[in-house]
Assembly symmetry: C3
């Protein structure tokens, strides 16, 4: 693709330039492992060094004079945009077609006669679809997927290999369920008894609204009654656990290994970084953020960023954790002061 055509297709670009007329761009590559004749991108000055060494022919940049100067010095074609990552995502889509199997039903798939299958659906080898399942149009089901009874799958949704969809789950349109994920599994509901644990049957269901993604080997449990609900366009990474009865708003993002315990309610655009834990029945307001490894209890206000365990406001966490390394000397200093003042050092 010609550089100038590429620029045109990105649309949103502010300005661009190429020293080579009719520069041909053959693909996209990372600024770190760049390949000749490709387009790369650099989000910030953090990547200045890589930009100085890149073998790429063109680069997408933010409006940063220093980065632009490097690009010019190196003779790179450049595109300056407000959001380089966004533009680069668009550029990848110009060169890369994700793998999509043909819309055929493999003869080894076992489909219950009561299942309703939409138009133009791909069903891979060894897929199992149980009774009363409804599959929308243009759905892609990769090999080895198992769908329990009474499930509904919306249009254009993709189920990757060996994922499992449990009974009564409702998955919206344009969702992606990654390999090994389990949707609508039984919530962890046991009542302590003298003999051990009484199982509370999980009669509810899990609902994923449109545009939800669930990562590899993640699980979204169903509750004893009612529903677990993941809001529209929420994106969930790998090895995430969402407990029974959790409700999330729209466009949340949960990084890998996040765990959300039963009954928690999250607003819109809540972001949980890697390995965050959210305790039972917690509340997180719209746009709140928990940084990596945070343990959220009780409630987080809309727009607040929290960190640490138990979670505190992120600014307080930064101040306190900066002092953490000095705890031992603080302890000794207090003892010395107490001694100097003739105070009881045990109190």
């Amino acid at each position: 693709m010609l550089f100038k055509d590429l620029v045109e297709k990105l649309g949103q670009s502010v300005k661009s330039s190429s020293e080579t007329p009719d520069l041909e761009i053959s693909g996209v590559s990372a600024v770190l492992d760049s390949k000749p004749n490709t387009l790369t991108y650099s989000e910030s000055l953090k990547f200045a060094k890589q930009l100085r060494e890149t073998q790429a022919a063109a680069v997408i940049l933010p409006a940063n004079e220093e980065l632009l100067a490097i690009a010019k010095e190196r003779g790179l074609a450049w595109i300056v945009v407000a959001n380089p990552r966004y533009a680069f995502a668009q550029a990848i889509a110009l060169f890369y077609q994700p793998y999509k199997p043909a819309a055929t039903i493999h003869p080894s798939a076992i489909i219950d006669p009561s299942a309703q299958i939409g138009q133009n659906v791909a069903i891979g080898a060894h897929v199992v679809i149980e009774a009363n399942v409804t599959i929308g149009n243009d759905v892609v089901i990769h090999p080895g997927v198992v769908i329990y009874p009474d499930v509904i799958i919306g249009d254009r949704t993709v189920l990757h290999a060996n994922c499992v969809i449990h009974e009564r789950a409702q998955i919206g349109a344009d969702c992606v369920i990654h390999a090994g994920a389990v949707i609508g599994s039984e919530g962890f509901g046991f009542v302590p008894t003298r003999e051990g644990w009484l199982k509370m049957e999980q009669s509810g269901c899990t609902v994923l609204e449109d545009g939800v993604e669930v990562g590899c080997n993640s699980s979204i449990d169903r509750p004893s009654v009612g529903e677990t609900r993941i809001g529209r366009n929420t994106k969930i990474d790998n090895c995430v656990q969402v407990g029974h009865g959790v409700k999330t708003g729209e466009a949340c993002a949960f990084a890998a290994q996040v765990g959300i315990a039963g009954g928690s309610v999250l607003g819109n655009r809540v972001i949980l970084a890697g390995q965050v834990g959210v305790g039972n029945e917690s509340r997180m307001g719209d746009g709140s953020v928990a940084s990596a490894k945070t343990g959220v209890h009780a409630s987080v206000a809309a727009g607040q960023t929290v960190s640490g365990y138990p979670a505190v406001d992120h600014r307080i966490f930064l101040r306190s954790s900066a002092v953490y390394s000095h705890l031992s000397e603080m302890y000794k200093a207090i003892k010395q002061i107490q001694k100097r003042l003739g105070m009881d050092t045990d109190s």
Copy 2:
């Protein structure tokens, strides 16, 4: 079902009342998302607000005057019991029949001729059962399950879709293995060498005693020699990792994303909350508890509750974590005091 019949079936109820004679209850629902004509429950005053707004027709309550007053005010039928969750679990079981496939063997299942299959067993599509496997009576094996050689599965156990049972594992009666779980996988046993890592073959096996549940995408490793053993009625949530050679007592409960490292020994009724880690060769006594995200090292006494990382007694953790937000001001105060006293502020 008539409310009065429902009350009778719960048996344990202390007292109950309904303003409507012959009130008909059509099902169960959550107090938050309640439906008309259903039975719900409220465990504590925490749910008073929901009780004021519920659309349910009847409610199970603890012996709490305030909740009871709300129920009476709202004209709800009510049941007061010692343990509302227990009674609600019983009520769910009166209305809900969990999905259970018919006791047939799907023709696409691949079963080694040497395997012994009990009476009344359901084996789903695309299941694979290898040599010398023994399956008890009334077992349910959902589609896509793979059972390696020499495995024993006890009566009435349920294996959910796409779980994997490794060679020599012994699974007791009345167990549930959820989708994607892996039982008896190789322990992470490598000996450091100059060249890298020497693999220690994992010749042992994993034993789950009767009534054990293992959540989705959890794994219970086998050891190099001897066995990993999960005690009777222990319940394990999703994405939990149990290392090689771990032994647990009876009726333990491990919440999601718990990790227990190799060789640890846990007593009876040990409770590990979400994302807890238990270090190698740790010991936890009967009835001990680790709160969410705790990192257990060394040993925890019977009955003790621990928190934090490294784990300390929970009461100490509460006191210390309450002060955590003040660390920065404490640091400054010490410096000021030292200055005032003419002490060296570096010590």
Copy 3:
């Protein structure tokens, strides 16, 4: 096997002795759950008690006089070596043959005609191999594995049941991918927009070099451009998440439930203990170590051991965490001192 033959086969032994001439060793067992006539091992004085009670007939020991005295007292045959775990790993391999299916292709496997399959390959029931996949010689593919198009699998690699290998992944020779693991899945790449999240297509691939092991239900994502690369002989435990574009050196070891965020670069022989998190774009030098539950940000020097969150040098962590339990009394002491000195207790 005769004890004296066993000693000879271990080779590296320093010295050994048996009171019984022609002592027959029937197998290996754990020192804790030992069986008669077996060989066990004891790494350190920590296991002295078990050694006093073991039913084993012979024991591998380090050069420790106290342990040796116990063995002699008990009349056990003994072998003293520099590295008892190493010698015991060798001994297990003398008695135990891991399960390996026959090198046949099961008729239920679905293999695209364009796939190239090497010599002496075992392909289990219900395996799916898509277009343009290349499988080396002596590879073992257990039942239920799904391999997407354009994957390369090296010689002697073992793929356990129900694991999934995504498009374009390259897996070296002598690798082991455990049950339920997912290799080459889409990185979690979304660009925030006003409407929610724009998906960044993940056009890159995941490369595992020779001798890599990946544990059950772990996932190694591929990046938007370029590659995720796991260095030679790196061993990865269960439920580990490796993000898009991560690069690791050789012979690293990552314990269970570790998460490594996108773009991080790790040197050779980096060790991450259980539940460690490594933040985006972090750097860890050769031989660095993060202890359990550590949260690594920014960079860790070669050879350094870090702990805590945010990570600090391990020695500082030990000192600070030792004081953690005293935080509340420290706080009160500061207030008392301020009061005594007539200082403002709010500062």
